[in-house]
């Protein structure tokens, strides 16, 4: 059965829309395969050239090749009308008929997409980390594209706290792109799945990422855009999300920050302004108020930790307090502290070391 699905998806010159239309008309891809010329020409909207292409490509040579490779790399293949595929992906006519994946796609795989630029700032990283950990804590899938930067951080933060994450790739699943995410990819497979619309050994061509972005938008319930420059690939995903009528959140940042021109623009154009991860689950979970309480408590705890100075190494507590003050005042380097504090170098270094160990700086 899956053989016919793969065959259908591999017919040259027949797009996703036509493929889905054929399946709808004949019921399943096997019937498409067995259809005669007269059957095919009865399909509404299928032109003669397309009929010819379907008839010409009735061979499993390529398909079997793909199946063999998939087996070798432990890649599983599901059609778009499979139960594991969310409704919104099934309904969009312009998405692929067949998905390849490694890992496990769980039943409740509705999730939130976190996307952003590859070259991100530490601000973007912090926002991503917070959001991904929050979603993981609420057992909501974190969806992203495993690219460098924001995507990678979203997956990583989610995995680190034991969450469930889905990664959509624009290349065959036997290839790891970018290369440095090899270990990340393995971990995603362990605690979620990597999904691709492309058969194994497809290279990461720039054009491939279009559909991948569409899938992300369709699969996710909401879209959080963390950072995007003026002309960013992120906007492809955003365009899809608009098309699929998904809620879009954008993270605000300084208007002079080049890496955030795109997100600020999104807010201007009417995207939701993102100020807290609670927004992401407001209508998904009833208990949002409760979770807000938890977060408040956590923040209190953190503040408490910073204030307390009594510790078992506090013979030099007064110096430590002075150092903390200096750091708050903008001292960035050890030598600056030495210039502005009366204590000797050794004492400062010792105090700094202890402060460092106690995670106060």
């Amino acid at each position: 059965m899956i053989k016919h699905w793969v065959w259908l998806s591999q017919i040259k010159g027949i797009g996703y829309i036509t493929q889905r239309m054929l399946v709808k008309h004949f019921g399943d891809p096997q019937s498409v395969f067995n259809a005669t010329r007269s059957d095919l020409s009865k399909v509404y909207g299928l032109n003669l050239r397309a009929v010819k292409r379907v008839l010409e490509s009735r061979s499993f040579e390529n398909t079997e090749n793909i199946l063999r490779k998939s087996e070798r790399f432990k890649i599983k293949i599901i059609p778009y009308n499979h139960e594991l595929v969310p409704k919104s992906v099934k309904e969009q006519p312009d998405l692929p008929c067949v998905l390849y994946y490694i890992g496990s796609i769980r039943k409740e795989n509705e999730g939130i997409a976190i996307i952003g630029s590859r070259r991100c700032t530490s601000y973007g990283k912090a926002v991503t980390k917070e959001a991904a950990e929050f979603l993981a804590g609420h057992n909501i899938a974190v969806i992203s594209g495993m690219a460098k930067g924001i995507d990678g951080y979203a997956h990583t933060a989610c995995i680190k706290v034991g969450g469930y994450t889905l990664a959509f790739l624009g290349n065959g699943l036997d290839i790891c792109y970018p290369e440095e995410h090899r270990s990340l990819m393995e971990r995603i497979i362990e605690s979620g799945a990597v999904i691709s619309p492309y058969p194994p050994e497809t290279k990461a061509f720039p054009g491939n990422f279009h559909i991948r972005n569409g899938l992300i938008s369709a699969w996710a319930k909401k879209l959080l855009v963390v950072e995007a420059a003026e002309k960013s690939g992120t906007f492809i995903t955003v365009e899809y999300a608009k098309k699929y009528k998904k809620q879009i959140f954008a993270v605000p940042n300084s208007i002079y920050c080049k890496g955030s021109i795109g997100t600020n623009q999104l807010i201007y154009e009417g995207a939701q302004i993102y100020i807290s991860p609670n927004q992401l689950i407001d209508d998904m979970k009833e208990s949002s108020f409760e979770s807000q309480n938890i977060i408040q408590k956590k923040a209190d705890k953190q503040r408490f930790k910073t204030i307390k100075t009594d510790n078992r190494f506090a013979i030099n507590a007064s110096l430590e307090v002075k150092i903390l003050k200096c750091i708050e005042g903008g001292a960035e380097y050890v030598d600056m502290l030495m210039d502005s504090l009366p204590a000797g170098r050794n004492e400062i270094m010792e105090a700094l070391c202890i402060l460092d160990l106690e995670e106060k700086i």
Partner: protein, 511 residues
């Protein structure tokens, strides 16, 4: 009976005595040189004929055979020429030399019978003294170098005629140029007082120099990593005479002795470029010359942009770093060169170089991948990793106090003396960095609050067990700097602060 004349050859950095046997046999006039000489040795026959004829001696019209004994070891170099010429003249009865076994001969002949200087003379002179040879005849150009060896009568000549005159009439008229002062003193033209700011880094540089620890400097481009590295030799204690002799020997063998005739007094500083091949680093090549690590013997080997080095070449440093010597084996010979150096490495913190600053957009995965180019075993041998502060800040503190190298060197020398006393009689251990596990147990006892601090650090950063020893070694040096018997809490704190890279890697958001 064949005439026997003594000369020398080099294996590794050490010389050994070669007996040149010269014989004339009845037969077709010809010259052959046996004894596994290379082309330079074989071609000596043409030079010999020309030189001997030039001096109005007669080249025997017989079958001339030279044998370089021991005959089973490969030899190279053109310095056998003089020995062969003398041997042939003695054999053919044209020259009479009393007590020829008391003379050693070194020198390359020109066609006009002049004597050209050659490489490795210092090692050969040392070998001559060891073999009990009293007089050494060398080209005048090599004379100062050879006279570094005491208890050896070194005679310098400009051409073959002077040599034969000396043996015939006892005329020796070579003026000995006043040999440069062999006393150990070092005048560096550079000094740490030229470095702006960086006071805390300098402290760790001093620690590294005092304990013989290898150090890795992290910093953005142009923040002064290379400038600091170049000045590290200036804080190392001056070389002892035997150390200086070792270094000079290596340079003599490598043919890199610029000022012939004086010992190398400054500790060497070698900074190979990062496209260096494995062989150029550890030594090798056709005639197995010493590599950069041996040229940095008793000094500093600076690897700038260490992540850009060929991984294989870097990994080849592991064993030599451990042993303090490197053995190069080829089918026909095995050479051992000393290579006891302090490794100073510099590294950009990330691919773009500006990690931690707002202009850096490298992801954590990229940064880690970049840093992992240095293999674990090499990082393991580096005890101290510190950041070099970027330059903007240095301009702000232009007025801050500066330290000069002399002061730092005094501290270092003091700490080294303590270590010398401590490790007296222990083989292969001269400084804290070389301590073995057992020695660490013996000399690095911690007090309770020190252990507590170390435990906190381990809980926070999840250091490996191996790192524990590193902390103790560095802490030991901190204590030695202040001549403290015990390792105090602040020593431990200092050691913990010396792991910038480890700490930062721990904070990365990666799986």
């Amino acid at each position: 009976m064949a005439a026997v004349v003594k000369s020398f050859a080099i294996t590794g950095v050490d010389g050994y005595v070669v007996e040149i046997e010269a014989d004339t046999l009845y037969g077709q006039p010809s010259t052959s040189i046996v004894g596994l000489g290379d082309m330079a040795v074989k071609e000596a026959s043409e030079r010999l004929q020309a030189a001997i004829n030039h001096e109005k001696y007669e080249f025997p019209k017989m079958k001339v055979v030279f044998n370089l004994a021991p005959g089973n070891v490969k030899k190279s170099g053109s310095h056998f020429d003089l020995g062969m010429a003398i041997g042939l003249l003695v054999q053919s009865g044209q020259l009479k030399v009393d007590q020829i076994d008391q003379f050693g001969f070194i020198g390359e002949l020109s066609l006009n019978a002049g004597l050209r200087s050659c490489t490795g003379v210092l090692s050969m002179a040392i070998a001559a003294r060891a073999a009990g040879i009293k007089n050494l005849i060398v080209p005048k150009g090599n004379m100062p170098e050879a006279t570094l060896v005491k208890e050896l009568n070194v005679l310098g000549f400009e051409n073959l005629k002077q040599v034969t005159d000396f043996f015939n009439n006892g005329i020796y008229s070579c003026e000995i140029n006043a040999v440069a002062d062999t006393g150990i003193s070092s005048n560096y033209k550079i000094d740490f007082c030229e470095v702006q700011g960086q006071a805390s880094l300098l402290e760790y540089i001093t620690i590294a120099a005092a304990g013989g620890h290898n150090i890795l400097m992290l910093g953005s481009p142009g923040c002064g990593k290379s400038m600091i590295a170049k000045r590290i030799p200036t804080v190392l204690p001056p070389m002892t005479e035997s150390e200086a002799l070792e270094v000079t020997k290596i340079y003599s063998v490598a043919g890199l002795l610029k000022k012939r005739g004086s010992l190398i007094l400054q500790r060497p500083f070698r900074a190979p470029h990062h496209n260096a091949s494995t062989n150029s680093l550890v030594g090798g090549g056709n005639n197995a010359k010493p590599g950069e690590i041996s040229l940095a013997h008793n000094g500093v080997l600076f690897l700038d942009e260490i992540a850009e080095f060929n991984k294989k070449a870097l990994d080849a440093l592991r064993q030599p770093m451990e042993d303090g010597k490197v053995t190069i084996s080829r089918v026909n010979y095995t050479n051992t060169y000393p290579c006891n150096f302090m490794l100073v490495a510099a590294l950009n913190p990330c691919p773009c170089g500006y990690y931690g600053q707002s202009k850096c957009h490298c992801t954590d995965y990229e940064v880690l991948k970049y840093r992992q180019k240095i293999s674990g075993p090499i990082l393991d041998r580096i005890d101290i990793q510190r950041y070099v502060q970027p330059i903007e800040f240095m301009e702000l503190t232009k007025g801050s106090q500066k330290v000069n190298s002399d002061e730092l060197r005094e501290c270092v020398t003091r700490a080294r003396k303590i270590q010398d006393r401590r490790y007296q009689g222990i083989e292969n251990v001269n400084c804290n960095a070389q301590m073995t596990g057992a020695l660490i147990k013996e000399y690095c006892q911690l007090e309770n609050d020190g252990i507590g601090l170390l435990k906190m650090a381990f809980d926070r950063f999840e250091f490996s067990a191996r790192a524990y020893h590193k902390f103790l070694k560095v802490a030991r040096t901190f204590a030695d700097m202040e001549e403290s018997e015990k390792i105090r809490r602040k020593d431990i704190a200092g050691a913990i602060m010396a792991r910038d890279l480890d700490k930062e890697n721990k904070g990365m958001l990666v799986v």
